[in-house]
Every structure is written in C-alpha cells, then in structure tokens.
Amino acid sequence: MDGFAKYLVRRFFQFFLVIFLGVSLAFLITNLSPVDPVEQSVSLMTSFGATDPRSVELMRSALEELYGLQGTMLDQYLSFWGRVLRGDFGPSLSAFPTPVMSLIMGALPWTIGLLTLALIITWSLGNLLGALAGYYRSNVLLKLSGAAVMALHPVPAYIIGLVLLLAFGFIWPVLPISGGAQMNLQPGFTFEYIRSLILHGTLPALTLVLVGIGSWFISMRSLVSNIVTDDHVVYAELGGVNSSKIFSQYVARNALLPQLTGLALSLGNVFGGAVITEFLFNYPGVGRLLIQGIYRGDYSLVLGVTTMSIISVAVAVFIIDLLYPLIDPRVRLG
C-alpha cells in the first residue's frame, strides 16, 4: 500500500505536469498566431459599411481594451492560468461577451453524444471483426469484410462523408444532411425529439464509424494473430477447450488489453470534436466551434477547446493507468 501511495503521488505529479506543459505549449502557439481578434472584429464591422478611417483607429483601441488584450504575453499567460484554475476561459472574442465556457458547454453535449456513440460502435465492431478475422483466418466472409475494411481505411473522412451525404441526402433522400435536430423542435425527452436526434446523427455517426473502424480492425487482427501462437492458446487447443471459449477467454481477452488503452485515449480525444465530420454535416459540436474560432482569430475559444481536450486526454490516460491493474492482473502499481 505504501508503494501504491508513492506511485499515486508520482503519477499525480506527472498528470499535472502533462497538463501544465500541454496547456502552456498551446498558449504559446496560440499567441504566436498572427490572426488578431481585434483586426478580425474590425474587419467584420467595417467590411460592409462606409467606415471612415479615423473611426477605425478609435474602434481598434476600444476593442483592445474591451478584449483585455493589453499587457505583455507573460501577463496574459499568468491571468490565463488564473482563470483556468477557476474553470473560466474568459469571454469569447468572436462571440463577445459570451463566455468561452458557455460556448463550449453548448457544443459539448452534441459532440460527446455523437462521438462517444460512434466511438463505442466503432471500437466494438472493429475489435470484434478484427478478432474474428485474426482467429478464423480462413473464413471467406471475414476475409471479405477484412478486405472491405482495408479498402475503406485509407479513404479520407471527407470523401466518405460526402459520398454518404450524396447517397442518403440526394440520390435516396431519406436522411437529413445538416444540423443536429429538426428545426423548431422543442428539445426534451420526447419521442419526436429523440427520433430527430437519431436521424440527424445517423450520417455523421456512420461517417465516423466507417472512418474509424479500420485502425481498430487492423490492430486487433494483428494482436490476435500474434496471440494465437502464444503457448497458452496452443495449449488450450491441445487441451480440447472448446473454440468459442478459447476465442473469448484466451485470445480476445488478452488482445483487448492494449485496445482498452486506445479506447481511453480516443474517449479523451472526444472533447476535441470531430472537425471534418462536424464541418461537413454542420453538426453543432466542439469541432465546428473550434474551426470557427480559428477562422475568426478567437484565441480565447481555441485555447479553451484545446485546454479542455488536453485535460480530458490526460485524465483518460491517468484513469486507464490506475485502472490497468484491475484489467490486467500482471500489472502492479508501485
């Protein structure tokens, strides 16, 4: 227990160090970006109206003050940490004065709902198919599905999404291609709304599944085909243990361990959003928010999303590290 406590302290320290380094790096890169939120706002305000040059100067300095962008980078860095510790990323610069946090919180349920579901489907299906394909190497159906997955794997997400959009939005227009739910529908636990959510989520989720399944499939198949030559599997076969038991308890169970780490990491990454898919299907999630933030030079928002993402990945890695001994009896902490 003493060893465990020591380990926990060390691991905790590392956890915070990772977050500190990651967020600092993100702050640095974001602040080096030449996209200036003040200029973006000024050009938004002046690009369509007849604005005389003297006013623009005035507008610029007023905005700098309003956005709190005065002071050195170090000042901003320190005040940034101060706010982060309070769970506040300050006001968004492109949606001033709405707090970044409320923008993220508005987008997060969409992203988490869509991505978590898609990830779980992808992970389960990819691992199941991959494990079966690795174990029953001569099965024709599995070979075919393997070939299909392999062929799909290198196709870019954007293309898969676009093809789905075209197929189910135009050629056979049965699914909505844009947005998160039907327009003017009251959100709530009503059949109508949930059905609408599912319908709107189908194409983006399908895109994510088709895009993501390949790497799980391939890594699982490779893990399994290594494990089937392990002594304990060969021995179980010689021992006449029935093959479904060998598959589930001797092969898949061992192969799943590294995949769980991958799952945890991917779950952590959910907070970063699925940029291309959200962008393509107009899904109101974090990925779309992030891209808008980048385009508009809203580095409060970009930093907010990035920080959330860093923290969630670090937490996921941390949790899986702590849970690992429960999943894999060989690993002991300390």
Partner: protein, 341 residues
Amino acid sequence: MLAAVENKSASVEAKPVLRVEGLKAYYQMNYFGVRREVRAVDDVSLTIKRNEIYGIAGESSSGKSSLIKTIAGAITPPLRVVEGSVKFDFGGKELDVYAQRPAMKAARWKHLSYVMQGSMNVLNPVRKVKHAFHDFAFKHMGLSEGEFRARVESHLQRIGLDPRVLESYPHQLSGGMRQRLTIGLATVCEPEFIIADEPTTALDVLVQQDVLALIKGVQQRMGSSIIFVTHDMTVHAAIADRIGIVYAGRLVEEGPTLDVFQRPQHPYTAHLIASLPRIGDTRKRVALGGKPPNLADPPSGCRFHPRCPLAVDKCKSENPALLPRNSGRVACWRAGEVEAA
C-alpha cells in the same frame, strides 16, 4: 469393426497404447525461398506399452519435437503428415489421430494429455489458475462444480501444491510451482497417455529433480504411459523405461534404457552417452565433428555418415533400416561395432 474391438479387449494388456506406423511428417514450405520439403519426421515407427515411460532423445532440431507434436496431433501447416498413421488405444478403442479428428478432440485430456515445451507460459496470464482446470477438465469428469473443486484440490495436494494456488494468477507463482501446476493440470483427469515435451528444460537442477520425481510418481500411481522428450540424456536415464534416439528426423536406435546406456549400438547413441559427464572420469570429451544435418537437404544414405567415425562407402549411398538387434532396434550398417570402439 466394433465387434472386432470387443474381441480384442481381452488381450488389452498386451496391446500397446500407442502405435506409430511409418510416420512421415514434412514441413512443406513455399515461403521465403525454402521451397524444399523439410523431412522433420521421416518414416518413424514405434509402439509404447501401457504403464511405460518412453523417452525420446536427440540434439536440438533433430526432429524430436516435430515427432512428438505429430504424435500429439498438434501440428499446424506447414508441417503436415505425409504418410503413416498414429493410433492410440484407449480402453480398447482404437483412435487414429489423423483420421478421427472429432473423436480425438473429445479424447483430449480425458485419455490423452500434454505437458508442453516451455510450459511455464501455458497458463492464460489474465485468468486465475482455477479457470484453467475448469476449462480443461470439468467436462470430462462428470462431477458437480463442488465435487470437481474438491477433486482438483485433493489432486493438487497430492502433488504437493497448496490448493490456494487455484485463486492465483500464473505470474504470481514461481517457475517450479507453475511447472507442477501444469503437471497437475495434465494429470487431473488421470489420462492413459501423457505427452511431455521437454517439461524440465527451463528449470534449475533441483526443481528438475523434484518435477521428475513428481511425474514418475503420478505415472506409477495412475498406470499411465508417458512419451517424454528431452535432449538431456541424464533425464532419460533417470525416468525412461525405454528410449528412442532420433537423428535427423529418423529413429536410429531404440531399446530399454539400461541397455542403451550400457551398450549403445548406434555410433550416434554412443556419442551422446560418451559425452555425458561421469564422476571420476577424467578423459577428455571428444566433440563430434560437423553440425546436425540440414533437414531440408539431408545427406544421402545414412544421415549420420558425414559425422560418423565408422562410416564406410555403403553408409553414403544406402539408408539402413531400423532392425531388431539385441534387446532393441537399431538402424546402422555397422551396428554393434561401436561397442568395441
């Protein structure tokens, strides 16, 4: 057919439990340029009697491991049986390993168990030991869960293991304990036949002695037969009733252990025995020249001839058959001459 079996059951004691006839098992590879066949098991015939420990000896890559895997029906392509048969006789029922696969599968562990090479790693690392017993043996025993557990525990105690190991994970046990456990697993169903492939190789000498005693003890209690493979002649001396010497995929000599050790008939056997350390023996060991042959391209005639101190021209061209001589069998044109050497 069934009637014939019934008829023979009277003479069950006399019947061998394992009969290997003209067995040829080759690695047939078209991979990586090694397109030739590797004749890992080349025309081997042997029988093993009830209640007998049969040792198979030979250098590494002599094909002894392939032979025992082929006997166990544990081969996967590219190793294939080309000719011959492996037949067990369990309680009077003849079982052809390669012709009756489903029956063979059902017989595993009930009648035939296996102690594998590197058997320290044969237990599933992520499951507790008790699951292994359950998976392997439960269905053969016809017991309730509780009875089964009690049986396993008493069995473990008998072989000197604390039943609490059942609740452990394999990595929590020492190498010796794991080995014992494997033997326990292999013997829990009290099978008629046990195949043991280098079960003691990775153990240190003290544990090795311990394990050998255990195997022997279990065998004697159950009256099982064991086919036992190791390159270590001292192990054979300690445990085997009969031994067979394998060289380059062929059985070159076979006989009662004592006879083979005292009067080896094949020059290769003689070499193996001569190279054993003996107390008080100060003679210099003479190393055998050359390397074990490449099984993909074996020498003509007697495969041992390039290394044989007694080789004559005939050895290079004609392959000697394994023929009875004295108390055993030997395959050598100059069989017996080695005794004088």
